[in-house]
Subunit: 366 residues, 2 copies
């Protein structure tokens, strides 16, 4: 692969061989409900704690992604996963049931892109033939870790976002080993069903449309000195603007070259800021921008500025977006999750919120 | 590069172009004091909080490593860093002062090896020419996050380890760009000195001895159902045994082929367990094993089973070990940091401690 002014161009363009998403009840009632593989209506997912439930979401997404591709853990050389919990325990507890070499990553809500970029890099280098990437979040674990115990019933300001209960997982594979990626009824029936609604399984296009990573860009840490942890969108928008602007410049491409630029979870407030910041630099997003945090919930679902969390863009990517690439609706997109690299401790210590955005250009020949 | 039964063999063998370590007062009074670049005697490192002090340790280690190699941030394509703090804030706050594409990683105390392996992979793939890797920990941030506020003066059991206050950083570089790596007096004087004791600066060998990464192995998550968070050595030893055994098998090499196998921070208890576990498999470590957690403190420093924390093996590697490779004492070593992937929450929820160990074979032509 090549590094051109910070843009990473994949020579062998790793393909997304399979993918899956598992989400909670609220997400399963939202506008993207038909694209999730599994909707787990129980906040505990049958476990004893919310933290274990979050691990179960990731385990489920990974298991379905492996099943769809007809992979066993022996087929996978690398697992690259992350989440928001202290010490990233949702991921390590989820992945301890797999005997796969494991790399934990932390990029806050940008984690899914970080794990995909590092995995694709490992595939390009020859370190791995296939890698599984996953990220998760859970409303209940995030609330008690970052904010208040749920029982307080705290009031949230309009700029606040709602942490998505969900996980997305995908298998990246080197291009020389392309095999048809069809989801058969036989695979579906081997899956443990939990309490999901079967009607939530989308009918997938059976034609093999290779979806592949064309290029990517790892972001820099940007700190705009925002200190309001209830306005993460404002903290993260400058990072998204920086990464998108630099990617477009280095690739000599324009917004109009992409069917859509999907940011991670800027929400409504952050999305408006991103438009303004890019507009100041002469880049107009126009109709070519959507935000996973805005897409995943309806406005009447009482989530204020939209969804957030590692699981937000991960489940939207590994549900709606990639399905829409399989059916040819999108052929060339930018996936740009953003992360706010704060902790409750840094907030209490009155530190500002450093942020980051990583970008992946995903294409299909469909 | 090649993946042979999980062993990653580097084709271009990225070299360690420069490295540095910064530690606290207690570490600066230990047996490895002469090999650290900077000893910061103030627990706050001149900052307002312990967390900021930990970031300062990493910033210092990274800055010295860059200075030694005569690099500016424009020379570096990737920063791969991690620490133990919730949401890895020591790293993200340390690295926000650099405009370097940033990948946060989390492997608990195995973080230094994880960041070096992912960076080396990125270099092999062509994604980066040079990458900076760093990891840090701080006794005071770890105690209040994982255990009790320092003011409690809690009694610690004999199996407990002492979190190292320190950070190590190194610059990895593709082999085609080898330049002499000499530390000149001029570079030293450009460094901000803080309150360190100048006599702590070792006299470095000026001859350029390329130290390079020959191969590596990413570990799998191993859970031996240990639940005592005051006995991390026992929890991590099985992971170290697994990774070392599999590496030796896949490389068809023996313990005697290596000058030394340095584990990360098993401490005295975990080290004994590692010997036993490997001995059961017919692998005798004999005189070829040392543990960074045992090496960094004297027995009379009241640290019980030894040192721990991401900064333990990072500062020992980027001080004593690499210096001893530069002067030819060691020519072929295995660096095997271990990580306990727990969190205070999982401990309170009575979960066991999943662990992991990553391995790097570092060689020199000296």
């Amino acid at each position: 692969m090549k590094n051109i002014d910070g843009n990473l161009i994949f020579d062998h363009a790793p393909r997304i061989a399979s993918y899956a998403s598992a989400v909670g009840k609220k997400e399963g009632e939202g506008p993207l409900r038909d694209w999730f593989d599994r909707i787990i209506r129980d906040s505990y997912a049958g476990k004893d704690t919310f933290e274990q439930a979050e691990s179960e979401l990731m385990t489920t997404a990974v298991r379905i992604a492996l099943n769809k591709g007809d992979y066993t853990q022996e087929d996978i050389d690398l697992a690259c996963c992350g989440d928001l919990l202290n010490q990233c325990v949702a991921s390590s507890f989820a992945m301890r049931s797999y005997a796969i070499p494991y790399a934990g990553v932390y990029g806050a809500c940008s984690t899914m892109a970080l794990s995909m970029i590092l995995s694709a890099t490992a595939i390009e280098s020859g370190a791995a033939r296939r890698a599984v990437c996953a990220a998760s979040s859970h409303y209940c674990t995030a609330e008690r870790q970052y904010r208040f115990p749920l029982e307080y019933g705290s009031q949230r300001p309009p700029t606040a976002q709602w942490t998505v209960t969900g996980s997305g997982a995908c298998v990246l594979e080197e291009r020389s080993r392309i095999t048809p990626n069809t989801k058969t009824a036989a695979h579906q029936t081997t899956l443990e069903r939990l309490d999901s609604d079967d009607s939530a399984f989308p009918k997938r296009d059976k034609r093999p449309h290779p979806i592949y990573l064309h290029s990517a860009r790892l972001g820099r840490i940007i700190d705009f000195r925002i200190t309001d942890q209830n306005n993460m969108g404002a903290a993260m928008a400058p990072a998204a603007a920086d990464t998108i602007y630099r990617y477009l410049s280095a690739s000599e491409s324009e917004v109009q070259d992409y069917d859509m630029i999907f940011t991670g979870d800027l929400g409504r407030v952050g999305s408006r800021l991103l438009r303004d910041l890019l507009s100041e630099k002469g880049v107009e997003l126009g109709e070519h921008h959507s935000d996973c945090g805005v897409m995943i919930f309806d406005e009447d679902q009482d989530v204020h500025a939209g969804g957030s969390g590692c699981g937000c863009c991960a489940s939207v990517l590994c549900g709606y977006i990639l399905d829409k690439m399989r059916d040819g609706t999108f052929r060339n997109i930018l996936f740009v999750p953003t992360g706010a690299l704060l902790s409750p401790t840094t907030v209490m210590q009155k530190q500002s919120i450093p942020s980051i955005a990583h970008l992946i250009n995903i294409r299909t020949n469909a």
